[in-house]
Symmetry: C2
Subunit: 200 residues, 2 copies
């Protein structure tokens, strides 16, 4: 075996996920992994990296808030910032710490894709884009427009990502919750990328 | 006469607006001024400041792009930033320069309300909130939900401002344009203000 996969044992990851996630989230993780692999093959991204990032993106999703804060701080977040964030925004950074410490996974591209999969961010790498989108369109996702988005994902990655950001923002507006500026910056960057101008 | 109005001649402003704005935008400016005055009286804000900020908020709206860039830079924007911004985002800062140089208007609260009326921003003053909202609900504004928003404006300022931000963001999503992060930060702050937590 070559590449990053040689150093990380997929079987170890699956055992960890089975022990630490609900059945539904375990299935979601495998689904994201397979969807990310397909997108990686379609767009010329490293499929082994997509498999690992897809499998591991939610590995910290069911930890307690104190655990999430502790691990997110170990992954580089400030202590005050981590304590103030909701659980949903901590599981990306916390997963980075778990990947490093449990699976000896140190590939920067994979870790960034895991870290930012919830909000997206400005100027994402191809792997970050693929994990963000795979999380959105995996086969068990069900929301108005998901079928259209699945087709768009393999036709126009940039437009599919903008549509995914739009869906997220509309959902948050409806819920009356704060919108993460990283999602807005991700979307703004993708729009300007299409217009050939990425100056923010 | 007392206060800031004593130093600024409303008649001079009206003449300037008549000469530099279309009839429609002149009427809009007077409408925003009257709506802002009502909101100021309702919420215990200085009505003279609301009148001046309302009248002047769009005074730079019909300048050319080179004029807008020049005046926005004189109001403190970086040259590169100003050149990259669309006209819509320059007329607030450019108006600040016009207010200072043409009308000797130097009241920081009024100038901030004019500067940030397009996007809003985090932690707005009461006057800033009033001008942002008056611009949205003045009598000639016509969009789905405006009547409801007009009533809400006099019942619950915070919720009306969140609804105005939501309307702006939904409109921008529909148009496929970039969302200004200041509008998102304004909305997030207002939501957290309601939850008694303004930490961002």
């Amino acid at each position: 075996m070559h590449g990053v996969k040689a150093m990380v044992h997929e079987q170890d990851i699956l055992i960890f996920l089975e022990e630490n996630l609900s059945k539904k989230r375990y299935r979601h993780s495998v689904n994201v992994c397979r969807t990310a692999e397909s997108l990686a093959l379609h767009y010329g991204c490293d499929p082994e990296k997509a498999v690992l990032a897809g499998l591991l993106h939610d590995c910290a999703r069911e930890l307690t808030k104190p655990e999430l804060v502790q691990f997110a701080v170990k992954a580089g977040l400030g202590a005050a910032e981590a304590a103030a964030e909701p659980k949903e925004l901590l599981h990306g950074p916390a997963a980075v710490y778990l990947c490093r410490s449990l699976f000896n996974l140190n590939d920067g591209d994979i870790l960034a894709a895991i870290r930012y999969h919830t909000t997206g961010r400005e100027n994402m790498s191809l792997l970050e884009k693929i994990i963000f989108l795979a999380d959105f369109i995996e086969p068990e996702r069900d929301f108005p427009g998901v079928a259209k988005l699945r087709r768009l994902a393999f036709r126009d990655l940039r437009r599919a990502l903008i549509a995914a950001c739009d869906t997220t923002i509309r959902y948050i507006l409806l819920k009356g919750m704060p919108i993460h500026t990283d999602t807005v910056l991700a979307r703004n960057y993708l729009i300007r990328e299409g217009a050939g101008n990425t100056q923010s």
